[in-house]
Amino acid sequence: MKVSALSASELKAQLEQTGVFFQTGPFAIHLQSSIVGLAEDVGLLYTDFPLLEQTDYADFHVKLVRPQNFRRWFRPQVLFQFDGSAPFKPLPLNQVFPMLEWGLNWCVSSHAHHYLMIHAAVIEKDGFAAILPAPPGSGKSTLCAALVHRGWRLLSDELTLVNLTDGKIVPLPRPVSLKNQSIDIIQQYIPEAVFSRKVSDTIKGTVALMKPPSDSVARALEHAQAAWVIFPKYQPGANAVLEEQPKSRTFMRVADNAFNYSLLGIKGFETLAGVIDAVKCYDFTYSRLDDAIATFTALKPPSNA
């Protein structure tokens, strides 16, 4: 059964009372909240996600609540709670849905050390995954949002999970976070994409979340073999150019982008070395999404893949 099986009122009631248990990739989430509006966002963007029948276990128990102080009435705020603790400062109440997404990212990146976790988008086609590490502002999420509507499966827009036992990429498809101009760009480029409300004045500017493609959510248990590491960079007016990079340099750049590379010690080194061994490595500069999609469509997996 999926979240879509609950009516709007059922979802709202369940969130307010016992909470909703649902699956995102390899993680079971228990979400509770009485905040008005959150149920609509969850119902819209998590509609395809499996509901869990067992309600006595979750990887992450999270709540979004309004602080119990005078801020309940004056410039109201929202607080993210994880297992009863509040790891962050509160945010303005209207940022409740982005806060849920940021909070869930924090849950995974802070706890899921049975994976090597890379701050990167990752997409898949024909069983082969392209890992896109990039700092904020590089156009990674915009590129990812476009590609997953043009033949690629979304594995994650933010957290690449590498299985420590076999080096495979483990999907974690969730809503794709877009900000500022990227929101309008993707809404025009992919008119059928479903979006949450825009939320302005966040720490990242104006943000909106794009519903992950249904197929990506349905296939969340299908792991993928890494075949490319591509560092995207949006550059106004640039032609699409793929420039091959040395594996050794790529290793160091990806390690810098990994949340827990150092924590994992030798296991992190060996796992990342295995990934880099198997992939082709590129810098990718682009400006037009059509060009970027054509470039990615033409990618061929390494011969040793």
Binding site: K247, S248, R249, F251, A255, I266, F269, I276
Partner: protein
């Protein structure tokens, strides 16, 4: 004779060699290093057996097909010093 050099305890260093560069993980320090071609050659030579500067110059000048001149000697000495500072090699 000059100081003989060897790699840090063999069990602590883990290598990955791509083209002419080396990524080295030191499990004692937890540090990861990217070594260029010069340092790669020296470290891999010392992995085979301890050596002093003179031996490194002789071996590597042949392997790299270059003159074992003063500049090359200074280059080797510099690389050895850098590898020592990174705790990747130590006096034998």
């Amino acid at each position: 004779m000059g100081t003989y050099w060897k790699i840090a305890p063999a069990t602590s260093l883990h290598f990955k060699h791509w083209d002419e560069e080396l990524v080295v993980f030191n499990s004692i320090s937890g540090n990861t290093h990217l070594l260029g071609s010069d340092a790669t050659y020296v470290l891999l030579k010392l992995q085979q057996a301890p050596a002093n500067i003179a031996m490194l110059i002789e071996h590597l000048s042949i392997e790299l097909q270059t003159d074992a001149n003063e500049a090359f000697k200074k280059q080797i000495e510099q690389v050895v010093s850098q590898l020592c500072n990174l705790d990747l090699i130590e006096p034998a």
